[in-house]
């Protein structure tokens, strides 16, 4: 594809970069094992992003184009994908965070297969103060962040950051109507790889219930949110328990469910029998630490 005459012709109109494993700034790519194409307009603003192999196959099957011809067609169509993400961000700020402007941003990121999703989450939180409803804007940012987290290769730091975002929102915007939506991804996304979900959720609920809000209404709202979190948690624990009971002894995911259910000894035994690699190293280290602490608390003589 690269030494083709089509590419030489294309390069007269468009600059081309083979970026290796480095993504352009603001283009957070979750599935980094795939080939991606990102198109920028003459102001350097992001117009489009797509998984290249899928699009090239489509070009070949639908239009009978060769690989170089397909690439040129994809680039030409990508360059027509205005408005850019940056332009939509400007429109959002100008519209003070209107629902329409927010939906346009979400659609854009969706059309780009999630590329730019974390950047959008950051943008929504950073610009929240300039919008008509800063609480709503921040909640949107957290929900976009949760969606990005849920779609990515397991990332310990990203889950921790999401937990912090959700907890921070609840404390800063006690009583905001968006709280109900914001806490939804706590149990099933942000705490997906955490040890002992039930205990962790109880700790969050207890902290939120005791936040000094200065208003009875906000205090009542926080108590309600705390109860909702515990309800989500009960449902997640029941689901994990049921799934685990149907699993074969060496099934993939068994150890995660044991950790999620807070079964300390089984978790430690499972970690001993498993080789921790890559993305799981920090997660297993956390499970090991917390499971050992739980066992020690249950039987202090073992300390």
């Amino acid at each position: 594809m690269l030494p083709s005459k089509e590419l030489r012709e294309l390069s007269k109109r468009v600059d081309i970069c083979l970026s290796g494993k480095t993504a352009p700034k603001g283009c957070d790519i979750r599935f980094r094992q795939f080939y991606w194409l990102m198109a920028f307009d003459d102001r350097g603003e992001l117009l489009s992003a797509c998984r290249l192999a899928d699009r090239l196959t489509e070009q070949e099957k639908k239009f009978g184009r060769s690989l170089p011809e397909g690439l040129v067609a994809i680039v030409d169509s990508s360059l027509k994908s205005a408005p850019s993400l940056e332009e939509l961000e400007r429109r959002y700020t100008k519209a003070k965070g209107s629902e329409g402007a927010f939906q346009a941003l979400r659609e854009k990121v969706k059309a780009m297969a999630g590329v730019g999703q974390m950047r959008l989450a950051d943008f929504l939180v950073k610009t929240a103060a300039k919008t008509a409803d800063p609480g709503l804007a921040r909640a949107r940012g957290i929900l976009v962040e949760a969606a990005a987290c849920d779609r990515q290769v397991i990332n310990h730091a990203a889950y921790a950051r999401l937990r912090k975002s959700i907890d921070g929102f609840i404390k800063d915007h006690a009583g905001h109507p968006s709280g109900v939506e914001v806490i939804k991804p706590l149990a099933n996304v942000a705490l997906k790889y955490s040890f002992d979900l039930a205990t962790t959720c109880k700790e969050y609920a207890s902290t939120w219930s005791s936040v000094d809000t200065g208003s009875d209404e906000a205090r009542k709202g926080l108590r309600k949110l705390s109860q909702q979190l515990l309800d989500h948690c009960d449902a997640e624990v029941a689901r994990a328990d049921k799934k685990l009971s149907r699993m074969k002894p060496n099934a993939y995911g068994r150890l995660r469910l044991q950790a999620r259910l807070g079964r300390a000894q089984e978790t430690l035994d499972g970690i001993r029998a498993t080789k921790s690699f890559g993305v799981f190293r920090p997660i297993h280290a956390e499970w090991r630490r917390e499971a050992a602490a739980k066992l020690s608390a249950q039987d202090p003589q073992k300390k």
């Binding site: 081309i16 970069c17 970026s19 352009p24 080939y35 920028f40």
Partner: protein, 56 residues
């Protein structure tokens, strides 16, 4: 003698030109610098992620 010298010079020129590869129609690596340059030059750009000369 003069003809021989001219022929030799011509042969050397052809050999040098033949040995020079045509410039690549793309840049490899340094994507941030690449995008800064294309922006400064007012040029549209495409970035191929996970690509290098061999994989392409």
């Amino acid at each position: 003698m003069r003809h021989t010298a001219t022929a030799l010079a011509l042969a050397v020129t052809v050999a040098v030109l033949g040995a020079q590869e045509p410039p690549k129609p793309y840049q490899e690596g340094d994507v941030h610098g690449f995008l800064e340059r294309t922006r400064a030059n007012g040029r549209s750009a495409v970035v191929l992620f996970n690509f290098n000369h061999d994989s392409g």
